[in-house]
Structure formats: C-alpha cells, structure tokens
C-alpha cells in the first residue's frame, strides 16, 4: 500500500496554513518538517517528555501523539505565538526573569504547558496533590510541580521553572 496523502488546514500562531500530509504524519512532524515551525521540539517522540507541547484549540497537548490528519482545521499556538503586540506573554517573561532554563531545548514545551496549567487552575481543576479533590485548588509549589510533571528538563532547571510558573500565576 502506498502512502496516503490528504490536504488539511491548520491555524498556526494566527496564520492559516494549508498543506498536504501523509496520513502517518504526526502534528509535530507537520509543524516542524512541513511548515518550518520549529518551536515545538522533538524529544522522545513517545509522549514521555513534553518537549512537543503546544496549545491545541487552547488546551495543552502533545503533538508527537497527534496525527495531523485528525486535526484538520485546528488552532495551534506554539510558544512562538504567545507574544501579543510585541509584548512577551507573562509566562515567557517569568521564565526570563527566573532564568528558568539551561540549554533551552525543553523550554517551548515547558512554557506552553505552564500556560495550560494556569488556565486549568483558573478553571478550578484539581490535581493529584489537591488536598480535597472537591475543593478549589490553591496554586503553590506542590501543585505546580505535580501539574508540570509531564515536562522533563534534562538540565534539571526545575528549581527555577516552578517559581517562574508561580510568578506568572500571581502566587505569593
């Protein structure tokens, strides 16, 4: 059986992009290899490291485990598309202020994931460490560490990443 090609449209960082993809192509490969959008990174390619995290229709997801063909018409926001009117997103600014990286390879995924975390907390979603699962969560160190556990940092910059996410979330 030869490869099967399909035409899809993606709204990537505010720009409509039309492309033809093989049905086997992941959203990550479509972004990086076909559209030249290299902000999401390929780490493990098996959903274990979080480096490929983007906001897919405003939710944090892993592009390495998403088939591009199944997301025709989707809105994709990468770390590259978070800034508005030239001003960095508060999460991006917090990562700068806290020096929340070393080599930087996992950083775009960390930032997209952190944007998702703050949105989920604002909606009142609990986590595995929320003391009472029926109560509103409070943003603190343990909540951030748990909620960011899907993003690995091989440089182990966690000691700066967690405070950066807390800063961006307005926690004291």
């Amino acid at each position: 059986m030869p490869g099967v090609e399909t035409e899809i449209t993606l709204q990537v960082d505010g720009v409509a992009r039309r492309l033809t993809v093989d049905t086997r192509t992941t959203l990550l490969d479509a972004l990086r290899e076909r559209l030249g959008v290299t902000s999401p990174k390929k780490g493990c390619d098996h959903g274990q490291c979080g480096a490929c995290t983007v906001l897919l229709n405003d939710r944090r997801m892993l592009t390495c485990l998403a088939l591009a063909v199944a997301h025709d018409g989707a809105t994709v926001t990468t770390a590259d598309g978070l800034a508005e009117d030239g001003a960095l997103h508060p999460v991006q600014q917090a990562f700068l202020d806290r020096d929340a990286y070393q080599c930087g390879y996992c950083t775009p995924g960390q930032i997209c994931s952190a944007v998702g975390v703050l949105d989920e907390v604002a909606r009142g979603w609990p986590s595995a460490v929320t003391p009472d699962v029926a109560a509103e969560p409070r943003l603190d160190h343990d909540e951030v560490a748990e909620r960011m556990s899907g993003n690995l940092c091989r440089c182990a910059a966690y000691a700066h990443i967690t405070p950066a996410v807390l800063d961006a979330g307005g926690a004291r």
Binding site: M1, P2, G3, V4, T6, D22, T23, R24, T25, T26, D29, E33, K41, K42, G43, C44, D45, H46, G47, G50, T53, R59, R60, M61, L62, C64, L65, A66, L67, V69, A70, S113, G116, V117, E120, R123, G124, W125, P126, S127, A128, T130, V133, A134, A145, E146, R147, M148, S149, G150, N151
Partner: protein
C-alpha cells in the same frame, strides 16, 4: 535527538522500520464506524490517540485503515437515574474536573488525576482509557517474544524483569498488568459500559470488560473486533461519596502504579456496613476485590480487620521471581496500601 531529520513518518526510536501506510476515514456516525471496522480486520478505531499513535511508531500495530471516532460519540456528562452517564468522547481532564464526579465519586476523579500527565489527560478519552494496552516492556519491545503481541511466540516477562508484573490471575502465557488507574475506580464503582456492535447496542458490566490472560493473552477485553464503546454509566452509589484512590509508584508523579487501591466505605458507628474495593497494578485486569469486600461487611473498623480483608483477597496471590529480584514485594505493599486506604476512609465518616 536521534533520527530527527530522518523521521518524517515516525519509525525512529525502538520501533522497527517506518510506520506502514494506512488510509484514514471519518464515518458519518457511530453505526457507520462500527460497520466499517467490523468488516475490515485490518481496521482500528482512533480516539485520543495517545496509545495508538505510540503503538504505530513502535510497530506493535500496523492497521491498513484508521477510523477516527473522536467526534462520533458523546462528549457530555449527564445525570442518569441517580448516577452519571459519561460519553465515550469525554476527555479524562474534563471528567476529573466535573463537579459531580469530584463530590459523588471522588475515587474516580483521584484515579484520573493520578494517571499520565496534564497534556495526556487533555487528549485521552473515557472510551479509550480503559482500552489502553499493557505497558509491559516486553510487549512494547517488538524485538522480544510476547504472547500478547504475537500469540504463541512465548512470554519474555516470565523469569525476566517482573517488578511491574502481575501477582493475581496471571497465566503461564502472560503475566502483564493493566495500566489504567481510571479502570480501577470504575471496577470498584460497578460501572456499566455501553457498547455498539454490528448487531446493535449492549451493556457490559465494567468488571467483566477486561479478561484474565489464560490461553489467549492477545485478547485484553471481551469486546469483539468492531465493537465501539459509546459511554460509561456510573450507578447511584451513595457510599461512593466516601471513596478514594491511593496509588504507589516509583516516583511521585507521571508513573504507572506498582500497586493501587480504589475503595468506597459505608461505615456507621464504627461498623462497616458495605465496601467496594478494587486493585490496580497487580493483574491483567482491574481487580475487583470481592473477597476483601465480603471480609469487611459487618466488622468493626480496625487495622486488624482491614489487614484480614487484604489477606483474604491475596491468599491466592503468586509472586513472580525475576532477574530484578521479582515482585513478591507487591503483596505486603498492597496489604499496607489497602489498610491505609480503609483507615483514611473510616476516619472521614
């Protein structure tokens, strides 16, 4: 990063060769999807994709047709005869965040939140999560024999690394464990699974959805090829308000269970009136602990009584020796985990 430039269509990492080409279809409705897959032995359903897409890359499955059912089942949670009706397309994150689930079935919310990562929970669905396949390292490594992957090829786990393997209900053909946390809570809650097949709809008790390996470890569930999960119903179960999920793992987050317990306790004046208990990480299926439940009914709550309930359930447990030291540790670990879980629940009432 290995294979970055040569990895167009997947296939790097541990998989063998590139992903085989497949056609992709979005049928008009669930019935059409069922007919399409039932008629084609090479077809598979795609929902959240978190397990299937990984298996395509690893070479564990090689379908010729992928049928996307993401938008063909309900993504709503509705009140239903005192319980809840959960559509198969409801995302794990939305289910865990639902106010009714958190208040009336906390064991389910906690089990969902104990599984995977925030990104994966945003993708994974109610229908797909219980159907995810084992994380047995030999099943996932296509270079090793595995009866679940290739029937009759042998079991590499027996006598291999058995830390994550089963101690209950295993067979000489397979000692793998079921990885889902959500499924353990659903087993304890006596949920029902609504399934659509070529002949119409049927309901399967959740505790009967998954199989023990026996002679056919390649079959995880009782579902026939082409049968589609439409949703899961939670019963009216007042004692589930006093329930929880406790998971023990090698690291604090984002790891599969070594052992886990989902439990609900109905207790009055220190006496257990009724209990629901299920174990994770110790069997080929989420393990409903009926013997433990029987041992608990009518007893005065105490650590000794809770330990006796665990011992009743684990009397037939068989640890697996292994090159890594084996998994006999799971029996005392699960005993202590059940005691701690029931102790917490007995203090809440």
């Amino acid at each position: 990063m290995r294979g970055l430039r040569t990895h167009h269509a997947g296939g790097a990492g541990r998989g063998r060769g590139p992903v085989k080409p497949f056609a992709y279809q979005v049928p008009g409705d669930a019935a059409a999807a069922v007919r399409t897959v039932a008629d084609d032995t090479t077809a598979v359903f795609l929902a959240g994709g978190t397990n299937l897409v990984d298996h395509l890359k690893l070479g564990i499955v090689a379908p010729e047709l992928v049928v996307d059912i993401t938008h063909l089942t309900s993504d709503e949670i509705t009140d239903n005869a005192g319980g809840l009706r959960i559509g198969a397309a409801v995302r794990n994150s939305d289910l865990a965040a639902d106010r009714r689930v958190r208040e009336r079935y906390p064991t389910l919310a906690q089990a969902l939140l104990a599984g995977a990562s925030g990104q994966l929970r945003n993708m994974a669905t109610t229908g797909g999560n219980p159907l995810q396949r084992t994380r047995c390292v030999y099943f996932q490594d296509v270079s090793t024999p595995c009866n679940k992957r290739i029937p009759g090829s042998g079991c590499s786990a027996i006598g291999g690394s058995t830390r994550g393997m089963a101690v209950l209900g295993a067979s000489e053909h397979c000692i793998a464990t079921h990885p889902s946390d959500m499924a353990v809570a659903l087993a304890a809650l006596a949920a029902q699974v609504r399934v659509l097949g070529p002949a119409g709809e049927r309901t399967v008790p959740f505790v009967e959805l998954h199989r023990l390996p026996g002679e056919y470890p390649e079959r995880d569930t009782v579902l026939e090829h082409g049968e589609l999960v439409l949703g899961i119903d939670l019963p009216d179960l007042p004692m589930a308000r006093n329930s929880c999920y406790r998971k023990v793992r090698d690291r604090a987050s984002y790891a599969f269970a070594l052992v886990s317990v989902a439990a609900a306790l109905d207790i009055e004046d220190g006496v257990v009136r009724d209990a629901r208990v299920a174990f994770g990480g110790v069997a080929h299926k989420p393990w409903r602990a009926y013997r433990a439940e029987d041992a608990l009914r009518g007893v005065t709550a105490s650590e000794d009584a809770f330990r006796a309930a665990a011992e009743a359930e684990l009397a037939d447990a068989r640890p697996q020796p292994g090159v890594d030291g084996g998994n006999a540790f799971k029996i005392p670990l699960l005993t202590r985990t059940l005691v701690a879980t029931l102790r917490d629940l007995s203090r809440k009432e």
